[in-house]
């Protein structure tokens, strides 16, 4: 049906305009929504457009952004990871235990805790992925199991209590603010997003993630082993849960087995609002960052707006559904654009 094609056009990087249009359609929709929401609250809600408030928002989105970044990998391959909140709790407990160990100096205990959190998180994720692939069990079930199991282990390890008394340098680092508006933990989150974006967008591994989410069988029949990349995606999700645990410790200075309850749902919401398709193959980590921002801006904005606390979940719930509805329409528009 497409007849307007000449050989010379084919290889050109051309279609820059089409590309820009496509990118703005892909990411721009959510970004525009975020800008509109920010503008709306800036005008209507007192104290919204102040550096203090932005600082607060940046502090609050850090954990969710890190969690959701890793989760994006899993959702892109068409899976789901419900265990990130529990794994985070387990990692906070382990990290805090290591950092409060009297025999270790802060110089040793902090890097050790970081390594332990990342290793443990990645291990939980790898286990999730391995079980899914080994026994062909839906990831929903496996990670639901991990959600419970990790939470139980966290209680055992912490003896059902919160762990305080983290080393002072660690706490100080967590409280560091750059240029009066950028908290250190937000910069960590940003770094995670950047790395994730690079991996997904520019590496062979990222290409496999998208390809597997689009058509796993075709990838297999092209001579690859999708299993490995799928397990890797779950491992990344676990790894970011471990990093998010360190961010949690930096922010709240306490390790707790009941940390992170319900975090997985916030993370999923951020990924979905960011335009990543639950059926896999489509989405981006930049979208996820914007999605996390939208969630927090709405929450803070409504609070400053003086909205009833009970209204907040109603609005946020509606936004999640609207985002997906909008996404479906956008998909149609994109397809039209691509048939041009």
């Amino acid at each position: 049906m497409i007849e307007r094609t000449e050989d010379e056009r084919v290889g050109r990087s051309s279609a820059l305009w089409d590309d820009l249009l496509r990118i703005s359609m892909r990411e721009g929709g959510v970004a525009a929504a975020l800008v509109l929401i920010v503008l709306f609250f800036s005008v209507t809600a007192p104290y919204f457009a102040t550096p203090e408030n932005f600082l607060k928002i940046f502090v609050q989105i850090a954990i969710n952004t890190v969690l959701a970044s890793g989760l994006t990998f899993v959702i892109l391959i068409g899976g789901i990871d419900l265990s990130v909140g529990s794994v985070l709790a387990l990692c906070t407990v382990v990290g805090a235990t290591i950092m409060t160990d009297e025999h270790l100096s802060p110089a040793a205990s902090i890097p050790l805790a970081l390594a332990a959190c990342m290793g443990l998180g990645a291990g939980c994720g790898a286990l999730n992925g391995w079980i899914c692939e080994k026994w062909k069990v839906p990831s929903f079930i496996v990670t639901l199991g991990m959600l419970n199991a990790a939470s139980g282990v966290a209680r055992v390890v912490s003896d059902n209590s919160t762990i305080t008394g983290l080393p002072q340098p660690f706490i100080d680092f967590g409280n560091t603010i750059i240029w009066d508006v950028l908290p250190s933990i937000f910069l960590i989150a940003l770094a995670v997003v950047l790395i994730g974006w690079f991996v997904l967008r520019f590496t062979v591994f990222g290409r496999y993630i998208f390809a597997i989410g689009t058509n796993e069988e075709a990838v297999r029949l092209s001579g690859h082993t999708p299993k490995i990349y799928k397990i890797a995606a779950f491992t990344i999700s676990g790894l970011t849960a471990g990093i998010a645990a360190m961010v949690y410790l930096l922010r709240l200075n306490v390790g707790s087995p009941i940390a992170g309850v319900g975090y997985e749902l916030n993370a999923i919401a951020a990924v979905i609002i960011g335009g990543t398709s639950l059926s896999g193959g489509k989405g981006s980590i930049v979208g996820t960052l914007v999605g996390a921002c939208i969630l927090q801006v709405l929450s803070t904005g409504l609070q400053l707006f003086g909205a009833d606390d009970n209204i907040k979940p109603i609005v946020i719930g509606s936004v999640i559904v609207l985002a997906v509805v909008f996404d479906t329409y956008r998909g149609r528009l994109l397809r039209k654009l691509e048939t041009r």
Binding site: M1, I2, E3, V10, S13, F202, T214, A218, S222, T225
Partner: protein, 502 residues
């Protein structure tokens, strides 16, 4: 043409950037079997979708059964009496045949489904199309050919005035096609009008009365089929002569051996399969649907498990336990179902091509977009893939174009043996010829090619040798010098019990 059931007057349909149909006018007389021909992209599918209520025309008038026809939804088309059996079957695979057949109008009793009445009615419908299966069979148990017949039975179950069949024989074997034609004859006796779309030019004379040819979205002609030869039809469709007979190139002479399969067994009690493919040789695999052709090539490629067998590539024994092993050994597979197994539909042409070997377009695991774009563009040019840019999603391509992308990805990777399962299914004449050209190009380079096809004339036209499969084993091997349609068919039908629709 005194009593047209359907008439189109300057119907046009545009999509962004593409004019799919423009100024199409023709009539279909009541009770006739009207054949619609055209290359892929000629506008046939668009026309069917307009009639099925999936798209609305941008211009022109359609009159159906004496009334202006402007369906807004498929339901409108259904109510007007138009039934469409689409090329891509859309069945509810976890339900029974009976439930699928009567889904639109389940018999009810006290507000509940009356299963007994439903199954009785379904049995009648199945009988009408000569399909001997229980109405309670789950659809996912059926073969493609059987599903096709169920779809037709479904179209028949409601009084239809116009039955549209889009490529109904694409997946059928000769015998199943015969059965379909018997059914169509019976429908004709009942004065049901049929609009029949097919790429198989040999068969349309058997059933068609009139033919309409579309080319590039325009109406070329509508006339009686009688007196038109296949070259005439091809000429009308493509505007140039193309002969399948010319597809064979006797300057390519097979030599040596590139692939040898010894005693391949798909299950412990299964028959042992042995054969070989030479350098520069095109070997065909004929047989009925369900004769184990696809199963064999999938097992050979490591996509499905096998229990025994030795495979040698260029004389060296290799172990193939997964598609990954197969690709490493130099095999490539063009799958039977290109949308489900061959392509990443939502991804770009370039991404589809380079997926077989991203190592060539990356450094230390990081992609090099320019290198990738150039590699893809080269193949797009070589294979004459019609696309605006290499970044276009392959989901928007026509069937022939998509198939070229699948072949391109193996050319990009490089292989010693290319296995093609139904490489030209649902592809128009022009693209078919190009695919044959590609195969010959590979053969001339000394690659071995294994082609599975249900289209026997195609195999006769392009193969050096044909292996005939029946009941999971090789029933016979026919060299080119002894090619004879009758002989191959009798080998394939050797075991009448295996015809699944019988």
């Amino acid at each position: 043409m005194s009593d047209p059931i359907l008439s189109l007057a300057s119907v046009g349909k545009r999509f962004p950037g593409v004019t799919a149909l423009s100024g199409v006018s023709f009539e279909i007389a009541r009770g006739e079997t009207h054949v619609l021909l055209g290359e892929n992209g000629a506008g046939k599918s668009t026309l069917i979708n307009l009639l099925a209520g999936l798209f609305r025309p941008d211009e022109g008038e359609i009159t159906f059964d004496g009334l202006p026809y402007r369906p807004g939804t498929p339901t409108d088309a259904f109510r007007a009496g138009i039934r469409v059996v689409h090329q891509e079957l859309s069945m509810l695979s976890n339900l029974t045949v009976a439930e699928n057949l009567l889904f639109e109008d389940l018999p009810r009793r006290y507000g509940l489904v009356d299963f007994r009445a439903m199954n009785r009615r379904a049995a009648e419908l199945l009988d009408e199309v000569g399909l001997d299966i229980a109405p309670t069979t789950l659809v996912n148990r059926l073969g493609v050919a059987q599903m096709q017949l169920v779809e037709i039975a479904k179209a028949l179950c409601h009084d239809s005035k116009l039955l549209i069949l889009d490529e109904p024989t694409a997946t059928l074997t000769a015998r199943e096609v015969d059965r379909l034609f018997e059914i169509l004859d019976r429908l004709k006796a009942k004065q049901v009008t049929v609009l029949y779309i097919s790429h198989r030019l040999q068969e349309i004379h058997e059933i068609g009365d009139q033919v309409t040819v579309l080319r590039d979205g325009r109406h070329v002609t509508t006339r009686a089929l009688a007196g038109l030869t296949i070259p005439d039809l091809v000429h009308l469709m493509v505007g140039r002569e193309l002969e399948e007979q010319n597809a064979f190139r006797d300057d390519v002479i097979p030599s040596g051996e590139v692939l040898r399969v010894r005693d391949l067994q798909l299950s412990t009690e299964g028959p042992r399969i042995s054969f070989s493919v030479g350098r520069g040789e095109i070997v065909g695999i004929a047989g009925l649907v369900g004769s184990g052709r696809t199963e064999m090539v999938r097992a050979l490629f490591g996509a499905d498990p096998k229990t025994a067998g030795v495979i040698e590539v260029e004389g060296r024994p290799v172990t193939i336990a997964s598609p990954r092993d197969a690709v490493r050994c130099g095999l490539g597979l063009v799958t039977e179902d290109r949308k489900q197994q061959g392509l990443l539909l939502g991804m770009s042409c370039a991404q589809n091509i380079t997926i077989t070997d991203l190592g060539k377009v990356s450094r230390h695991g990081v992609l090099r977009p320019r290198v990738e774009r150039e590699a893809a563009a080269r193949l797009v040019r070589d294979l004459r893939i019609k696309t605006a840019t290499v970044h276009q999603a392959v989901g928007t391509y026509s069937g022939g174009n998509q198939q070229k992308v699948v072949i391109a990805k193996w050319l990009y990777h490089g292989m010693k043996v290319l296995i093609c399962d139904e490489p030209t299914r649902g592809i128009d004449v022009g693209a078919k010829a190009e695919i044959y050209d590609l195969m010959w190009g590979l053969a001339a380079q000394g690659k071995g090619i294994l082609v599975v096809s249900s289209d026997l004339p195609e195999l006769l036209a392009i193969c050096h040798r044909i292996l005939v499969f029946a009941k999971g084993r090789i029933a016979g091997e026919v060299p080119r010098a002894a090619f004879d349609q009758q002989r191959i068919l009798s080998l394939a039908y050797e075991e009448p019990g295996l015809d699944r629709t019988n």
